[in-house]
């Protein structure tokens, strides 16, 4: 009984604030403290706010690029790891799990330091070897650095998901394909890829959500650019408005949807393969 009350209180603490944000995003009044009536006007306001739309666009571009890159790179890394044997594989596997657990703030600082150092070295080199008389390009923090940092972090997620799928995959399917005259490349395209694609897609969606929601790493390496979480953060400093609640609710809905799809993808695969056996 005590346990039940206790867990009820915990859930209350977890979900009441979120519920309040969602509720107040539909508040027709302008103050966050009192609920006047239902209205969706703040959603309209948020969506017609050019700063917020810019930040949203940046976030979408970054999340899409990072998720795409980490899906491709993570999948190839997972495939390579699968072929490895012995201690090397154990070490790499360990490093990947560790990198998932490294706090975002460490990744943020580390990436920032690394990028700035690299820029300091590369920029003079670029300036020296640039053939044109025009201004040489100057590397600096921006979209690309956020994409790079997010790719780095989310790649381990993809590797873990795809690795699990490959390990669970029936090896005799590959052999059967080889036996039926398929070259290694044909086997990869027709057997391996379809088998692991749900895991890759799930990895893509998780990476997308992570990148889309990330504040800490972006804050460090975004430079002068603004992503949606950074925009929300800076507008909160001017007070919590129902508009921010509306944005928060939209982010919540998008993230939850993607996460649920990812879960379903991973599940359905498990069920089907267990039925095959």
């Amino acid at each position: 009984m005590v346990m039940r009350v206790y867990s009820f209180v915990v859930y209350l603490f977890l979900y009441v604030p979120i519920g309040i944000i969602v509720l107040f995003s539909f508040n027709s009044g302008r103050h966050a403290s009192e609920f006047v009536g239902l209205s969706s006007k703040w959603y309209g306001k948020a969506l017609s706010n050019p700063f917020m739309m810019d930040a949203l666009t940046s976030s979408l571009i970054i999340a899409f690029s990072a998720a795409t890159l980490s899906s491709i790179m993570g999948t190839t890394a997972a495939l390579a790891l699968q072929r490895m044997r012995g201690p090397v594989r154990v070490i790499f596997d360990g490093l990947i799990y560790i990198s998932i657990m490294i706090p975002g703030i460490v990744i943020g600082i580390a990436t920032l330091v690394a990028l700035v150092t690299v820029f300091d070295i590369l920029n003079p080199v670029l300036a020296a070897i640039w053939p044109d008389d025009n201004r040489p390009p100057k590397l600096s923090l921006g979209y690309i650095s956020v994409i790079a940092a997010h790719t780095l972090f989310t790649m381990s997620l993809v590797i873990v998901l795809v690795r699990a799928r490959i390990t669970g995959m029936d090896r005799t399917l590959i052999e059967a394909s080889q036996d039926l005259y398929a070259t290694p490349w044909q086997t990869f395209c027709q057997i391996t890829l379809p088998q692991i694609s749900p895991a890759i897609l799930a990895g893509f969606l998780l990476s997308f959500t992570f990148s889309f929601d990330d504040f800490i790493i972006s804050f460090f390496v975004a430079g002068a650019n603004t992503t949606l979480p950074i925009y929300i953060f800076s507008s909160i400093r001017r007070g919590i408005t129902p508009e921010v609640n509306a944005i928060g609710t939209m982010v919540l809905v998008v993230s939850l949807t993607l996460l649920i799809i990812a879960q379903v993808l991973l599940r359905s695969r498990e069920n089907k393969s267990s039925r095959d056996n």
């Binding site: 029936d170 052999e175 036996d179 039926l180 379809p194 095959d276």
Partner: protein, 379 residues
């Protein structure tokens, strides 16, 4: 059986001193054999004796540690699986779960550099489905199929490619008894119809005996004996083979005298028995540990009062019926014989109707002819 004379014209598969080691385990140990074109060949042996590894060496999933495998007279060293003219039916069937039955069957043809046209592909798939009596199942998903149906799809998927050799790894092990019998007959018919060499791996001696034209009995990675089912049954070279092929009664002892083909052996309790050496069996020395082997159907059972002369045998022992199983054409008796132990006797209907049969608990006399008993080395 003359694997050493290189590249027999009519051999589809040859092993020349092939070994495959996994670390310390010699899964296949210096095996030489040849499989005649168009034959139904079986690897028979207990689990872990290297049957699957032998098959995988032919398919190209394993490379030999020593020696080489020849397919159709060509050395296969370094040739990857997708370039070998053989196809395999996997023990787990290994059907592609994300493809329909038809796409599974057409898979091999679609990988060819000269792909058949869509209509040609369709036609061939339909023919293959018909061959395994699965017409109309083309659009089904593979997981909707029963075990027996999956088995047929796997067969069709391999045979549509018209391989030089079809490899089957315990293809019937997952099926229930009744279905297994049906599939055995079907496989045999299919092999005769398509004329492709079949190489079967099985631990089920009945399966090997009933289907194969040639059997290779393996033990710990080595060939114990190979030959036709009849040769293996009638002339086993040692106790292991006799034990593995068909049912046999054994009497353990040691050699006391050798006289041409006839061997005399003595049991622990001092009784002497006579038996024949078998063709190709290893040399026997006086004192060697051997077993006298008598097949149940070569053992005669008669009433308690009968002697060797009545039974038309060279030996006569008193025993008591422990168990009787009526099998129609035959009656199977388990008889407790004092000097020997339990003896299995398969008595044909003709003798049974003359003697009236025996019931459990009844005392009887059994015997056999010395030239129908074999003296076999124990190892």
């Amino acid at each position: 059986m003359t694997a050493n004379s290189a590249h027999l014209q009519d051999a589809d598969i040859e092993f020349h001193g092939v070994s495959k080691h996994f670390g310390d385990v010699k899964a296949v140990d210096n095996v030489s054999l040849s499989v005649a074109r168009g034959s139904f060949f079986s690897f028979l042996g207990p689990s872990g004796c290297g049957k699957t590894t032998s098959l995988r060496l032919i398919a190209g999933f394993e490379q030999p540690t020593h020696g080489d495998v020849y397919i159709g007279g060509e050395a296969m060293i370094g040739v990857p699986p997708h370039k070998r003219p053989v196809n395999m039916v996997f023990q787990s069937y290994a059907l592609f779960p994300h493809m329909s039955v038809a796409d599974n069957i057409g898979y091999g043809l679609r990988q060819r550099s000269s792909k058949p046209s869509k209509t040609e592909l369709r036609k061939q798939i339909d023919e293959s489905l018909e061959m395994v009596r699965m017409s109309g199942y083309g659009n089904r998903r593979v997981w909707e199929m029963s075990g027996g149906q999956q088995q047929r799809v796997a067969l069709a998927r391999a045979l549509i490619n018209r391989p030089t050799v079809l490899l089957l790894d315990e293809p019937l092990a997952a099926l229930d008894r009744k279905l297994r019998r049906d599939m055995q007959i079907e496989l045999q018919t299919l092999q005769r119809d398509v004329g492709i060499t079949f190489i079967l791996v099985t631990h089920d001696q009945e399966e090997a005996l009933s289907m194969s034209s040639n059997i290779c009995i393996m033990r710990d990675g080595r060939i114990e004996q190979s030959g036709s089912p009849r040769e293996l049954y009638d002339q086993p070279i040692n106790r292991y083979v006799a034990d593995f092929v068909g049912k046999t009664n054994f009497v353990a002892g040691s050699v006391t005298q050798i006289n041409g083909q006839t061997v005399c052996m003595k049991t622990g309790n001092g009784r002497s028995f006579f038996g024949m050496k078998t063709a190709g069996s290893p040399e026997l020395d006086v004192g060697a540990r051997v077993s006298l082997a008598i097949r149940p159907e070569l053992t005669v059972v008669g009433s308690k009062a009968s002697n060797a002369e009545d039974l038309n045998t060279d030996t006569a022992f008193q025993g008591k019926i422990r168990n009787q199983i009526f099998l129609g054409e035959h009656t199977e008796y388990l008889i407790d014989v004092e000097e020997i132990g339990d003896v299995l006797v398969l008595s044909p209907k003709s003798i049974e109707s003359a003697s009236g049969g025996f019931d459990p608990g009844e005392y009887v006399t059994i015997g056999w002819k010395n030239d129908q008993a074999h003296v076999l080395k124990d190892s």
